[in-house]
Protein backbone atom coordinates (compact mmCIF):
# COMPACT_ATOMS: atom_id res chain seq x y z
CA UNK A 1 0.00 0.00 0.00
CA UNK A 2 2.04 2.98 -1.16
CA UNK A 3 0.91 6.30 0.17
CA UNK A 4 1.92 9.60 -1.30
CA UNK A 5 0.91 11.67 1.68
CA UNK A 6 -0.53 10.84 5.03
CA UNK A 7 -1.76 12.44 8.24
CA UNK A 8 0.79 14.19 10.44
CA UNK A 9 2.72 12.44 13.17
CA UNK A 10 0.63 14.35 15.72
CA UNK A 11 -2.54 12.83 14.31
CA UNK A 12 -1.15 9.35 14.76
CA UNK A 13 0.03 10.05 18.30
CA UNK A 14 -3.19 11.81 19.27
CA UNK A 15 -5.22 8.61 19.08
CA UNK A 16 -5.44 7.05 22.52
CA UNK A 17 -7.29 3.82 23.13
CA UNK A 18 -6.98 2.53 26.67
CA UNK A 19 -7.62 -1.19 26.65
CA UNK A 20 -8.08 -1.22 30.44
CA UNK A 21 -11.04 1.08 30.02
CA UNK A 22 -12.46 -0.32 26.83
CA UNK A 23 -12.26 -4.09 27.18
CA UNK A 24 -14.19 -4.41 30.47
CA UNK A 25 -17.16 -2.75 28.77
CA UNK A 26 -17.32 -5.67 26.39
CA UNK A 27 -16.70 -8.29 29.00
CA UNK A 28 -19.57 -6.88 31.05
CA UNK A 29 -21.99 -6.69 28.13
CA UNK A 30 -24.70 -9.22 28.84
CA UNK A 31 -26.10 -9.60 25.33
CA UNK A 32 -25.23 -8.87 21.73
CA UNK A 33 -27.28 -5.68 21.64
CA UNK A 34 -25.19 -4.27 24.47
CA UNK A 35 -21.93 -5.34 22.78
CA UNK A 36 -22.91 -3.65 19.54
CA UNK A 37 -23.98 -0.49 21.38
CA UNK A 38 -20.51 -0.41 22.91
CA UNK A 39 -18.92 -0.99 19.49
CA UNK A 40 -20.80 1.95 18.02
CA UNK A 41 -19.85 4.17 20.97
CA UNK A 42 -16.24 3.11 20.63
CA UNK A 43 -16.32 3.96 16.94
CA UNK A 44 -16.76 7.57 17.97
CA UNK A 45 -13.29 7.45 19.54
CA UNK A 46 -11.81 7.41 16.06
CA UNK A 47 -11.77 10.92 14.61
CA UNK A 48 -13.31 11.31 11.18
CA UNK A 49 -10.60 11.07 8.58
CA UNK A 50 -10.07 14.28 6.67
CA UNK A 51 -11.64 14.19 3.19
CA UNK A 52 -8.18 14.71 1.66
CA UNK A 53 -7.07 11.38 3.08
CA UNK A 54 -10.12 9.40 2.01
CA UNK A 55 -8.31 8.35 -1.10
CA UNK A 56 -8.19 5.14 -3.04
CA UNK A 57 -4.57 4.35 -2.28
CA UNK A 58 -5.41 4.22 1.44
CA UNK A 59 -8.46 1.98 1.00
CA UNK A 60 -8.14 -1.48 2.35
CA UNK A 61 -8.61 -4.06 -0.35
CA UNK A 62 -11.34 -6.55 0.40
CA UNK A 63 -13.78 -4.09 1.87
CA UNK A 64 -17.03 -3.72 -0.01
CA UNK A 65 -17.76 -0.86 2.32
CA UNK A 66 -15.06 1.75 2.32
CA UNK A 67 -12.38 1.72 4.99
CA UNK A 68 -9.13 3.63 4.99
CA UNK A 69 -5.99 2.80 6.91
CA UNK A 70 -2.80 4.80 7.48
CA UNK A 71 0.25 3.58 9.33
CA UNK A 72 3.25 5.28 10.84
CA UNK A 73 6.21 3.72 12.66
CA UNK A 74 7.40 6.04 15.38
CA UNK A 75 10.30 5.03 17.62
CA UNK A 76 9.87 1.32 16.83
CA UNK A 77 6.18 1.36 17.58
CA UNK A 78 3.28 1.17 15.15
CA UNK A 79 0.57 3.79 15.05
CA UNK A 80 -2.55 3.80 12.93
CA UNK A 81 -5.20 6.16 11.68
CA UNK A 82 -8.30 4.55 10.23
CA UNK A 83 -11.88 5.32 9.33
CA UNK A 84 -14.95 3.77 7.75
CA UNK A 85 -18.33 5.00 6.57
CA UNK A 86 -20.06 2.23 8.48
CA UNK A 87 -20.49 2.75 12.20
CA UNK A 88 -20.07 -0.83 13.34
CA UNK A 89 -17.07 -1.45 11.13
CA UNK A 90 -15.55 1.72 12.53
CA UNK A 91 -16.12 0.48 16.08
CA UNK A 92 -14.62 -2.88 15.20
CA UNK A 93 -11.60 -1.08 13.75
CA UNK A 94 -11.28 0.83 17.03
CA UNK A 95 -11.33 -2.49 18.89
CA UNK A 96 -8.62 -3.77 16.57
CA UNK A 97 -6.54 -0.67 17.16
CA UNK A 98 -7.06 -0.95 20.92
CA UNK A 99 -4.93 -4.07 20.67
CA UNK A 100 -2.40 -2.86 18.06
CA UNK A 101 -2.01 0.91 18.27
CA UNK A 102 1.31 1.97 19.79
CA UNK A 103 2.60 -1.59 19.96
CA UNK A 104 5.90 -3.08 18.74
CA UNK A 105 6.26 -5.38 15.76
CA UNK A 106 6.67 -8.38 18.05
CA UNK A 107 3.56 -7.52 20.02
CA UNK A 108 1.46 -7.16 16.88
CA UNK A 109 2.92 -10.28 15.28
CA UNK A 110 2.08 -12.42 18.30
CA UNK A 111 -1.39 -10.91 18.76
CA UNK A 112 -4.15 -13.48 18.17
CA UNK A 113 -6.77 -11.33 16.48
CA UNK A 114 -9.34 -14.08 16.11
CA UNK A 115 -8.96 -15.12 19.74
CA UNK A 116 -9.33 -11.49 20.75
CA UNK A 117 -12.64 -11.06 18.96
CA UNK A 118 -13.88 -14.41 20.25
CA UNK A 119 -13.00 -13.34 23.79
CA UNK A 120 -15.02 -10.16 23.29
CA UNK A 121 -18.03 -12.17 22.23
CA UNK A 122 -17.66 -11.15 18.60
CA UNK A 123 -17.01 -14.54 17.08
CA UNK A 124 -17.52 -14.55 13.37
CA UNK A 125 -16.71 -10.89 12.82
CA UNK A 126 -13.31 -11.79 11.42
CA UNK A 127 -14.37 -13.85 8.47
CA UNK A 128 -12.64 -13.25 5.15
CA UNK A 129 -15.86 -11.84 3.75
CA UNK A 130 -15.84 -9.16 1.14
CA UNK A 131 -18.68 -7.34 2.86
CA UNK A 132 -16.84 -7.01 6.13
CA UNK A 133 -13.50 -5.31 5.76
CA UNK A 134 -12.29 -6.17 9.25
CA UNK A 135 -10.41 -9.26 8.17
CA UNK A 136 -8.63 -7.26 5.47
CA UNK A 137 -7.84 -4.51 7.98
CA UNK A 138 -6.42 -7.00 10.45
CA UNK A 139 -4.23 -8.44 7.72
CA UNK A 140 -3.12 -4.97 6.63
CA UNK A 141 -2.22 -4.03 10.22
CA UNK A 142 -0.18 -7.21 10.61
CA UNK A 143 1.52 -6.57 7.26
CA UNK A 144 2.55 -3.05 8.29
CA UNK A 145 4.08 -4.39 11.50
CA UNK A 146 6.27 -7.05 9.86
Amino acid sequence: MSQVSQPSQETFLALKLDSNEILPLFEQASNWQERYRQIMLLGKALPKLDEAYRIESAQVRGCENTAWLYHSAIEDKHYFVADSDARIVKGLIALLLTACHGKTSDEIASFDIEGYFDMLGLTGQLSPSRTNGLFALAKAIKAFAV
Binding site: E64, N65, D85, A86, R87, I88, V89, N132
Partner: protein
Protein backbone atom coordinates in the same frame (compact mmCIF):
# COMPACT_ATOMS: atom_id res chain seq x y z
CA UNK B 1 -49.22 -26.69 -2.86
CA UNK B 2 -47.87 -27.72 0.54
CA UNK B 3 -45.27 -25.03 1.15
CA UNK B 4 -44.02 -26.25 4.56
CA UNK B 5 -43.41 -29.65 2.97
CA UNK B 6 -41.55 -27.94 0.13
CA UNK B 7 -39.41 -25.96 2.56
CA UNK B 8 -38.55 -29.15 4.47
CA UNK B 9 -36.67 -30.35 1.40
CA UNK B 10 -33.97 -27.72 2.01
CA UNK B 11 -31.66 -29.01 4.77
CA UNK B 12 -29.70 -25.74 5.15
CA UNK B 13 -32.82 -23.92 6.30
CA UNK B 14 -33.12 -26.10 9.39
CA UNK B 15 -30.44 -24.51 11.50
CA UNK B 16 -30.00 -21.89 14.17
CA UNK B 17 -27.41 -19.13 14.16
CA UNK B 18 -26.36 -17.73 17.52
CA UNK B 19 -29.61 -18.96 18.99
CA UNK B 20 -31.86 -17.65 16.23
CA UNK B 21 -33.41 -19.86 13.55
CA UNK B 22 -31.89 -18.99 10.18
CA UNK B 23 -33.99 -16.61 8.13
CA UNK B 24 -32.54 -16.76 4.64
CA UNK B 25 -33.47 -13.77 2.51
CA UNK B 26 -30.51 -13.86 0.12
CA UNK B 27 -31.76 -16.18 -2.58
CA UNK B 28 -30.87 -13.69 -5.32
CA UNK B 29 -27.20 -14.15 -4.35
CA UNK B 30 -27.53 -17.91 -4.25
CA UNK B 31 -30.47 -20.16 -3.61
CA UNK B 32 -30.45 -22.98 -1.09
CA UNK B 33 -30.38 -26.48 -2.56
CA UNK B 34 -33.05 -29.16 -2.17
CA UNK B 35 -31.99 -32.61 -0.97
CA UNK B 36 -32.47 -34.16 -4.38
CA UNK B 37 -29.78 -31.91 -5.89
CA UNK B 38 -27.32 -32.80 -3.12
CA UNK B 39 -28.17 -36.50 -3.41
CA UNK B 40 -27.78 -36.51 -7.20
CA UNK B 41 -24.29 -35.03 -6.95
CA UNK B 42 -23.22 -37.42 -4.18
CA UNK B 43 -24.59 -40.36 -6.11
CA UNK B 44 -22.55 -39.42 -9.15
CA UNK B 45 -19.36 -39.35 -7.08
CA UNK B 46 -20.28 -42.54 -5.22
CA UNK B 47 -21.28 -44.69 -8.16
CA UNK B 48 -20.64 -43.13 -11.56
CA UNK B 49 -17.55 -40.96 -11.26
CA UNK B 50 -15.82 -40.93 -14.64
CA UNK B 51 -14.95 -38.44 -17.31
CA UNK B 52 -17.48 -37.85 -20.04
CA UNK B 53 -17.28 -38.52 -23.78
CA UNK B 54 -13.89 -40.22 -23.62
CA UNK B 55 -13.39 -43.64 -22.16
CA UNK B 56 -14.77 -46.89 -23.53
CA UNK B 57 -15.80 -48.16 -20.12
CA UNK B 58 -19.20 -48.35 -18.49
CA UNK B 59 -18.71 -45.72 -15.84
CA UNK B 60 -17.83 -43.17 -18.46
CA UNK B 61 -20.78 -44.22 -20.49
CA UNK B 62 -23.10 -43.73 -17.48
CA UNK B 63 -21.57 -40.36 -16.67
CA UNK B 64 -21.86 -39.25 -20.29
CA UNK B 65 -25.48 -40.26 -20.64
CA UNK B 66 -26.42 -38.43 -17.45
CA UNK B 67 -24.47 -35.37 -18.54
CA UNK B 68 -26.03 -35.27 -21.98
CA UNK B 69 -29.50 -35.98 -20.56
CA UNK B 70 -29.25 -32.69 -18.67
CA UNK B 71 -28.61 -30.91 -21.96
CA UNK B 72 -31.88 -32.40 -23.18
CA UNK B 73 -33.69 -31.30 -20.00
CA UNK B 74 -32.37 -27.78 -20.44
CA UNK B 75 -33.39 -27.71 -24.09
CA UNK B 76 -36.96 -28.38 -23.00
CA UNK B 77 -36.73 -26.19 -19.92
CA UNK B 78 -36.02 -23.01 -21.89
CA UNK B 79 -37.67 -24.23 -25.11
CA UNK B 80 -34.55 -24.14 -27.25
CA UNK B 81 -34.89 -25.44 -30.77
CA UNK B 82 -31.90 -27.78 -30.68
CA UNK B 83 -29.86 -29.42 -27.94
CA UNK B 84 -26.65 -28.09 -29.55
CA UNK B 85 -27.81 -24.62 -28.53
CA UNK B 86 -27.15 -25.43 -24.86
CA UNK B 87 -23.55 -24.86 -23.74
CA UNK B 88 -22.47 -25.68 -20.21
CA UNK B 89 -20.35 -22.98 -18.60
CA UNK B 90 -19.43 -22.36 -15.01
CA UNK B 91 -21.98 -19.60 -14.61
CA UNK B 92 -23.63 -16.50 -16.00
CA UNK B 93 -20.36 -14.58 -15.91
CA UNK B 94 -18.50 -17.14 -17.97
CA UNK B 95 -21.42 -17.35 -20.40
CA UNK B 96 -21.32 -13.60 -21.04
CA UNK B 97 -17.54 -13.66 -21.34
CA UNK B 98 -17.81 -16.47 -23.89
CA UNK B 99 -20.19 -14.42 -26.00
CA UNK B 100 -18.27 -11.15 -25.66
CA UNK B 101 -15.00 -12.86 -26.53
CA UNK B 102 -16.68 -15.01 -29.14
CA UNK B 103 -17.81 -11.99 -31.16
CA UNK B 104 -14.31 -10.51 -31.31
CA UNK B 105 -13.88 -11.22 -35.01
CA UNK B 106 -17.32 -9.85 -35.88
CA UNK B 107 -17.13 -6.48 -34.15
CA UNK B 108 -15.27 -3.58 -35.71
CA UNK B 109 -14.09 -0.14 -34.74
CA UNK B 110 -16.98 2.22 -34.12
CA UNK B 111 -19.57 -0.52 -33.61
CA UNK B 112 -22.01 0.34 -30.86
CA UNK B 113 -22.71 -1.89 -27.85
CA UNK B 114 -25.71 -0.95 -25.68
CA UNK B 115 -25.73 -2.13 -22.08
CA UNK B 116 -28.30 -1.90 -19.32
CA UNK B 117 -27.42 0.72 -16.68
CA UNK B 118 -28.93 -1.56 -14.03
CA UNK B 119 -26.75 -4.47 -15.13
CA UNK B 120 -24.41 -6.20 -12.75
CA UNK B 121 -20.72 -6.09 -13.54
CA UNK B 122 -20.76 -9.44 -15.34
CA UNK B 123 -22.92 -7.89 -18.07
CA UNK B 124 -20.80 -4.73 -18.32
CA UNK B 125 -17.13 -5.61 -18.03
CA UNK B 126 -16.92 -8.35 -20.70
CA UNK B 127 -18.37 -5.85 -23.20
CA UNK B 128 -15.88 -3.21 -22.13
CA UNK B 129 -13.10 -5.71 -22.76
CA UNK B 130 -14.54 -6.50 -26.19
CA UNK B 131 -14.74 -2.76 -26.92
CA UNK B 132 -11.12 -2.27 -25.85
CA UNK B 133 -9.96 -4.95 -28.24
CA UNK B 134 -12.09 -3.98 -31.21
CA UNK B 135 -12.54 -0.22 -30.94
CA UNK B 136 -16.27 -0.62 -30.39
CA UNK B 137 -18.15 1.98 -28.35
CA UNK B 138 -20.15 1.23 -25.20
CA UNK B 139 -23.25 3.23 -24.38
CA UNK B 140 -25.36 2.62 -21.27
CA UNK B 141 -29.13 2.60 -21.76
CA UNK B 142 -30.45 5.24 -19.32
CA UNK B 143 -32.94 4.49 -16.57
CA UNK B 144 -36.06 6.44 -15.70
CA UNK B 145 -36.46 8.06 -12.28
CA UNK B 146 -38.11 4.83 -11.17
CA UNK B 147 -35.04 2.85 -12.24
CA UNK B 148 -36.84 1.24 -15.13
CA UNK B 149 -35.05 0.97 -18.44
CA UNK B 150 -35.91 4.18 -20.27
CA UNK B 151 -37.69 2.88 -23.36
CA UNK B 152 -37.74 6.23 -25.16
CA UNK B 153 -34.00 6.61 -24.67
CA UNK B 154 -33.55 2.99 -25.74
CA UNK B 155 -35.46 3.61 -28.96
CA UNK B 156 -33.34 6.69 -29.65
CA UNK B 157 -30.16 4.66 -29.15
CA UNK B 158 -31.48 1.95 -31.47
CA UNK B 159 -31.58 4.58 -34.22
CA UNK B 160 -27.79 4.45 -34.08
CA UNK B 161 -27.93 0.81 -35.22
CA UNK B 162 -26.08 -0.91 -32.37
CA UNK B 163 -24.21 -4.12 -33.13
CA UNK B 164 -24.97 -5.64 -29.74
CA UNK B 165 -27.65 -5.05 -27.13
CA UNK B 166 -27.07 -6.67 -23.71
CA UNK B 167 -30.04 -6.59 -21.34
CA UNK B 168 -31.02 -7.90 -17.92
CA UNK B 169 -34.23 -9.89 -17.72
CA UNK B 170 -34.53 -8.96 -14.01
CA UNK B 171 -32.23 -6.49 -12.24
CA UNK B 172 -30.16 -8.28 -9.61
CA UNK B 173 -29.90 -5.28 -7.31
CA UNK B 174 -33.48 -4.03 -7.50
CA UNK B 175 -35.54 -6.98 -8.66
CA UNK B 176 -37.04 -4.87 -11.47
CA UNK B 177 -38.53 -6.92 -14.31
CA UNK B 178 -37.74 -5.59 -17.78
CA UNK B 179 -40.36 -5.93 -20.55
CA UNK B 180 -37.85 -8.21 -22.18
CA UNK B 181 -39.90 -9.46 -25.14
CA UNK B 182 -40.58 -5.93 -26.31
CA UNK B 183 -37.00 -4.77 -25.80
CA UNK B 184 -35.49 -7.75 -27.62
CA UNK B 185 -37.92 -7.37 -30.51
CA UNK B 186 -36.97 -3.71 -30.97
CA UNK B 187 -33.25 -4.46 -30.70
CA UNK B 188 -33.57 -7.18 -33.30
CA UNK B 189 -35.50 -4.89 -35.58
CA UNK B 190 -32.58 -2.48 -35.34
CA UNK B 191 -30.31 -5.30 -36.44
CA UNK B 192 -28.51 -5.91 -33.14
CA UNK B 193 -27.23 -9.17 -31.70
CA UNK B 194 -29.12 -9.57 -28.42
CA UNK B 195 -28.01 -11.12 -25.15
CA UNK B 196 -30.33 -11.49 -22.17
CA UNK B 197 -28.91 -12.04 -18.70
CA UNK B 198 -31.47 -14.29 -17.07
CA UNK B 199 -29.57 -14.98 -13.84
CA UNK B 200 -32.27 -13.42 -11.67
CA UNK B 201 -35.22 -14.54 -13.77
CA UNK B 202 -34.73 -18.22 -14.42
CA UNK B 203 -35.81 -19.49 -10.99
CA UNK B 204 -38.93 -17.34 -10.93
CA UNK B 205 -40.24 -17.14 -14.50
CA UNK B 206 -40.83 -19.58 -17.30
CA UNK B 207 -38.42 -18.74 -20.08
CA UNK B 208 -39.07 -19.50 -23.72
CA UNK B 209 -36.07 -18.50 -25.79
CA UNK B 210 -37.82 -19.15 -29.08
CA UNK B 211 -40.69 -16.84 -28.19
CA UNK B 212 -38.27 -14.31 -26.79
CA UNK B 213 -36.23 -14.66 -29.97
CA UNK B 214 -33.01 -13.43 -28.38
CA UNK B 215 -29.66 -14.56 -29.77
CA UNK B 216 -28.24 -15.45 -26.36
CA UNK B 217 -29.79 -16.18 -22.97
CA UNK B 218 -27.53 -16.87 -20.00
CA UNK B 219 -28.05 -18.04 -16.42
CA UNK B 220 -26.45 -19.82 -13.47
CA UNK B 221 -27.35 -23.09 -11.78
CA UNK B 222 -26.85 -21.88 -8.24
CA UNK B 223 -29.59 -19.26 -8.40
CA UNK B 224 -32.16 -21.86 -9.51
CA UNK B 225 -31.76 -24.39 -6.65
CA UNK B 226 -28.84 -26.09 -8.39
CA UNK B 227 -25.14 -26.21 -7.52
CA UNK B 228 -22.51 -23.50 -7.89
CA UNK B 229 -19.95 -23.79 -10.68
CA UNK B 230 -22.45 -24.52 -13.42
CA UNK B 231 -24.16 -22.17 -15.80
CA UNK B 232 -25.76 -22.17 -19.19
CA UNK B 233 -25.12 -20.32 -22.39
CA UNK B 234 -28.04 -20.63 -24.74
CA UNK B 235 -27.32 -19.37 -28.22
CA UNK B 236 -29.32 -19.44 -31.41
CA UNK B 237 -27.50 -22.13 -33.38
CA UNK B 238 -26.63 -20.01 -36.41
CA UNK B 239 -24.88 -17.36 -34.33
CA UNK B 240 -23.56 -19.64 -31.60
CA UNK B 241 -21.74 -21.54 -34.31
CA UNK B 242 -19.86 -18.39 -35.32
CA UNK B 243 -18.37 -17.64 -31.88
CA UNK B 244 -14.61 -17.74 -31.54
CA UNK B 245 -13.95 -20.13 -28.64
CA UNK B 246 -12.78 -18.45 -25.45
CA UNK B 247 -11.10 -21.64 -24.31
CA UNK B 248 -9.40 -24.27 -26.39
CA UNK B 249 -8.30 -27.81 -25.69
CA UNK B 250 -9.96 -31.01 -24.54
CA UNK B 251 -13.46 -31.72 -25.69
CA UNK B 252 -13.59 -28.86 -28.18
CA UNK B 253 -10.92 -30.39 -30.43
CA UNK B 254 -11.63 -32.56 -33.44
CA UNK B 255 -8.07 -33.11 -34.61
CA UNK B 256 -4.69 -31.66 -33.75
CA UNK B 257 -1.39 -31.69 -35.56
CA UNK B 258 1.44 -29.24 -35.13
CA UNK B 259 0.43 -27.68 -38.44
CA UNK B 260 -3.25 -27.19 -37.81
CA UNK B 261 -6.08 -27.88 -35.41
CA UNK B 262 -9.68 -28.53 -36.29
CA UNK B 263 -12.36 -27.70 -33.79
CA UNK B 264 -15.27 -29.94 -32.91
CA UNK B 265 -18.88 -29.15 -33.77
CA UNK B 266 -21.41 -27.61 -31.35
CA UNK B 267 -21.97 -28.04 -28.49
CA UNK B 268 -18.52 -29.53 -27.81
CA UNK B 269 -16.77 -26.73 -29.73
CA UNK B 270 -17.53 -24.36 -26.86
CA UNK B 271 -16.97 -26.81 -23.97
CA UNK B 272 -13.22 -27.03 -23.54
CA UNK B 273 -11.58 -29.29 -20.99
CA UNK B 274 -13.28 -31.55 -18.50
CA UNK B 275 -16.66 -30.04 -17.73
CA UNK B 276 -18.12 -29.76 -14.21
CA UNK B 277 -19.84 -33.14 -14.49
CA UNK B 278 -21.27 -33.47 -10.98
CA UNK B 279 -22.54 -29.90 -11.20
CA UNK B 280 -24.27 -30.58 -14.51
CA UNK B 281 -25.93 -33.61 -12.93
CA UNK B 282 -26.90 -31.48 -9.92
CA UNK B 283 -28.37 -28.89 -12.26
CA UNK B 284 -30.36 -31.65 -13.93
CA UNK B 285 -31.81 -32.57 -10.53
CA UNK B 286 -32.67 -28.90 -9.92
CA UNK B 287 -34.56 -28.77 -13.21
CA UNK B 288 -36.46 -31.95 -12.29
CA UNK B 289 -37.26 -30.34 -8.95
CA UNK B 290 -38.60 -27.16 -10.57
CA UNK B 291 -40.47 -29.06 -13.27
CA UNK B 292 -42.30 -31.07 -10.59
CA UNK B 293 -43.66 -27.89 -8.99
CA UNK B 294 -46.88 -26.18 -10.01
CA UNK B 295 -45.18 -23.07 -11.36
CA UNK B 296 -48.29 -20.92 -11.38
CA UNK B 297 -48.83 -21.59 -7.66
CA UNK B 298 -45.21 -20.81 -6.93
CA UNK B 299 -45.30 -17.57 -8.89
CA UNK B 300 -48.48 -16.54 -7.06
CA UNK B 301 -46.99 -17.37 -3.67
CA UNK B 302 -43.75 -15.49 -4.48
CA UNK B 303 -45.67 -12.44 -5.70
CA UNK B 304 -47.82 -12.41 -2.55
CA UNK B 305 -44.81 -12.72 -0.30
CA UNK B 306 -42.94 -9.98 -2.12
CA UNK B 307 -45.95 -7.73 -1.84
CA UNK B 308 -46.21 -8.51 1.87
CA UNK B 309 -42.50 -7.76 2.27
CA UNK B 310 -42.85 -4.38 0.57
CA UNK B 311 -45.96 -3.49 2.57
CA UNK B 312 -44.35 -4.36 5.88
CA UNK B 313 -41.16 -2.46 5.00
CA UNK B 314 -43.22 0.63 4.20
CA UNK B 315 -45.17 0.25 7.46
CA UNK B 316 -41.94 0.10 9.43
CA UNK B 317 -41.11 3.66 8.38
CA UNK B 318 -37.75 5.36 7.77
CA UNK B 319 -37.23 2.98 4.86
CA UNK B 320 -36.29 4.00 1.33
CA UNK B 321 -37.25 1.42 -1.28
CA UNK B 322 -35.35 1.57 -4.56
CA UNK B 323 -36.80 0.93 -7.97
CA UNK B 324 -40.36 0.96 -9.20
CA UNK B 325 -41.53 -1.78 -6.79
CA UNK B 326 -44.70 -2.60 -8.68
CA UNK B 327 -43.19 -5.18 -10.93
CA UNK B 328 -40.49 -6.84 -8.88
CA UNK B 329 -39.29 -10.37 -9.19
CA UNK B 330 -37.81 -11.99 -6.12
CA UNK B 331 -36.04 -9.02 -4.56
CA UNK B 332 -36.51 -5.68 -2.85
CA UNK B 333 -33.71 -3.13 -2.27
CA UNK B 334 -33.86 -0.67 0.59
CA UNK B 335 -31.96 1.49 3.04
CA UNK B 336 -32.88 2.34 6.62
CA UNK B 337 -32.92 6.15 6.99
CA UNK B 338 -29.37 7.42 6.45
CA UNK B 339 -27.80 4.39 8.06
CA UNK B 340 -24.98 2.59 6.34
CA UNK B 341 -26.18 -0.61 4.69
CA UNK B 342 -23.30 -2.49 6.29
CA UNK B 343 -24.40 -1.55 9.81
CA UNK B 344 -27.90 -2.75 9.06
CA UNK B 345 -26.57 -5.99 7.59
CA UNK B 346 -24.34 -6.78 10.58
CA UNK B 347 -27.13 -6.16 13.07
CA UNK B 348 -29.57 -8.29 11.09
CA UNK B 349 -26.98 -11.05 10.89
CA UNK B 350 -26.73 -11.03 14.67
CA UNK B 351 -30.38 -12.10 14.66
CA UNK B 352 -29.95 -14.89 12.14
CA UNK B 353 -31.25 -12.84 9.21
CA UNK B 354 -29.28 -13.23 5.97
CA UNK B 355 -29.67 -10.37 3.50
CA UNK B 356 -27.25 -8.88 1.00
CA UNK B 357 -25.72 -5.49 1.77
CA UNK B 358 -23.44 -3.57 -0.52
CA UNK B 359 -23.31 -2.38 -4.11
CA UNK B 360 -24.58 -5.74 -5.42
CA UNK B 361 -21.89 -5.76 -8.10
CA UNK B 362 -23.83 -2.98 -9.81
CA UNK B 363 -21.73 0.10 -9.11
CA UNK B 364 -23.02 2.12 -12.08
CA UNK B 365 -26.58 1.58 -10.82
CA UNK B 366 -25.62 2.68 -7.30
CA UNK B 367 -23.98 5.78 -8.81
CA UNK B 368 -27.13 6.59 -10.71
CA UNK B 369 -29.16 6.18 -7.50
CA UNK B 370 -26.68 8.43 -5.70
CA UNK B 371 -25.96 5.85 -2.99
CA UNK B 372 -22.93 3.82 -2.00
CA UNK B 373 -24.96 0.72 -1.49
CA UNK B 374 -28.13 -0.72 -0.06
CA UNK B 375 -29.63 -3.80 1.51
CA UNK B 376 -31.52 -6.36 -0.51
CA UNK B 377 -33.97 -8.93 0.76
CA UNK B 378 -34.70 -11.66 -1.76
CA UNK B 379 -37.04 -14.62 -1.76
CA UNK B 380 -37.16 -18.19 -2.98
CA UNK B 381 -39.76 -20.91 -3.13
CA UNK B 382 -38.96 -21.89 0.46
CA UNK B 383 -39.52 -18.36 1.81
CA UNK B 384 -42.45 -17.90 4.15
CA UNK B 385 -44.55 -15.19 5.74
CA UNK B 386 -42.84 -16.10 9.03
CA UNK B 387 -39.47 -15.30 7.44
CA UNK B 388 -40.74 -11.86 6.53
CA UNK B 389 -42.27 -11.26 9.96
CA UNK B 390 -39.01 -12.26 11.63
CA UNK B 391 -37.05 -10.03 9.25
CA UNK B 392 -39.28 -7.04 9.93
CA UNK B 393 -39.11 -7.59 13.71
CA UNK B 394 -35.33 -7.81 13.49
CA UNK B 395 -35.19 -4.69 11.32
CA UNK B 396 -37.39 -2.88 13.84
CA UNK B 397 -34.85 -3.71 16.55
CA UNK B 398 -32.02 -2.52 14.28
CA UNK B 399 -33.91 0.71 13.76
CA UNK B 400 -34.29 1.06 17.50
CA UNK B 401 -30.53 0.57 17.98
CA UNK B 402 -29.36 2.84 15.18
CA UNK B 403 -31.83 5.71 15.03
Amino acid sequence: MDFPQLRAQFPTLEQTLAGYPLCYLDTAATSQKPKQVIVAMSRYYETDNANVHRAAHQLSSRATSQYEAVRDSLTDFIHAKRREEIIFTHGTTESINMVAHGLIEQIKTGDLILIDTAAHHANIVPWQELAKRTGAIIKPIPLTDECRLDEAAFDALLQEKPAIVALSHVSNALGTLNPINVLVARAKQAGAITLVDGAQAIAHLEVNVQELDCDFYVFSGHKMYGPTGIGVLYGRFEILDTLTPLMTGGEMIKSVSFEATQFNILPNRLEAGTPPIAEVIGLGAAIDFINALPRADIAKQEAELLNYLQTRLKQLGDITLYGANDNNIGAVAFNLADEHHQDVGILLDQQGIAVRCGHHCAMPLMQSLGIKGCCRASLGIYSSKEDIDRFIDALASVKEMLL
